[in-house]
Symmetry: C2
Subunit: 201 residues, 2 copies
């Protein structure tokens, strides 16, 4: 435990900042000092942004997304294709797909992936609501945008079985060479998948 360099209020601020992902104990000190120096331009707006979010944040009852309204901005967006439903494990994945801006669909956030080792079973995921949405009849394609990990693929297989009776097309993301990726840094599994799924030029 290093010696306290300032009053307990500042020490507490540093300790809390150190728990923010991306900051460690050392960078938390630097961040705290910067926030203190820029208190009018940065700390004060950040404090009110926190209050704003804390007062309004909620989980969308339709899709499980996190937003300041329920249903969320995406669920109430009429310009999105209601026929395509994209299943993601986490809100972070939804955000990543939205940044790619390659989809104009609705989402369904599972809240994790099946993981027997971590004791996460089907009842721990937002699966009943998914079946309900698909059975509603508007959805024609369910895109399983899950990680290419064992847990992600197990979850994908489970959902495919779950939706076998429903009259929908179930798809998954393509495997292949990441854009900007060098071949000699790629693992064999990715290269094999990219070769199998090769397309004409």
């Amino acid at each position: 435990m290093p010696r306290a360099v300032a009053g307990p209020e500042i020490e507490r601020l540093i300790q809390l900042l150190a728990r923010v992902p991306g900051l460690g104990p050392r960078s938390a000190r630097r961040a705290a000092l910067h926030l203190i120096k820029k208190r009018e331009q940065l700390m004060s707006p950040l404090a009110s942004a926190f209050e704003d979010v804390l007062g309004k944040i909620c989980t969308c009852r339709v899709c499980g997304n996190i937003d300041v309204r329920d249903p969320c901005s995406i669920c109430i967006d009429d310009t999105r294709d209601p026929a395509l439903l994209v299943v993601v494990a986490d809100v972070a994945d939804l955000w990543a797909l939205e940044r790619a801006a390659a989809l104009n669909a609705r989402y369904h956030v599972l809240g994790g992936t099946l993981s027997p080792l971590d004791g996460i079973g089907p009842d721990d995921l937002n699966l009943a609501a998914l079946v309900g949405r698909v059975q509603g009849g508007t959805v024609t394609e369910v895109l399983l945008a899950l990680g290419a990990t064992v847990d992600g693929q197990t979850t994908a297989h489970y959902i495919t079985e779950l939706l076998r009776e429903a009259n929908v097309k179930v798809t998954r993301l393509a495997h292949g060479v990441p854009v900007g990726g060098e071949l000699d840094y790629l693992d064999e599994g990715t290269l094999s998948a990219a070769i199998r799924a090769r397309t004409s030029f």
Copy 2:
């Protein structure tokens, strides 16, 4: 400008977090999501830490340190040696020296270093107060804990001249091999300084 992935309140939070040193646009999203998920355990305490610091923070009128009281915790600490005054450029340097816990002295924060290129002259630094403190008579040694940079050394020379009339010993930090440092990674200037200042074993 990437597409907004959530309501304006969350986007604003991400934009503000991206301005915190140590976080970039990508890690700010990750931090925002973590803060939202851990809102009870982390975002809420952080919001109140911000309010606490914002309400109390001030600059010490004696030494220029930043604290929640004026004079600061260090200036009112009677257990510190009043004869040794450590001059630093910035509060960050004061914090670094305090973490090292090798001193039990008072500090004087200049608020920068002389930098003709950046237009920072003697009047921009907290120098008049330094001379006043030294002339007070209690201080017997002024340790110039300034960076081993051109600006740091220029400032050190300027202060040495400024205090020539005062009856105090002016010292500076030793140059040498950093603890844990490998010789073959060190620059020639550091190695030469370490050789010149070699000590018997």
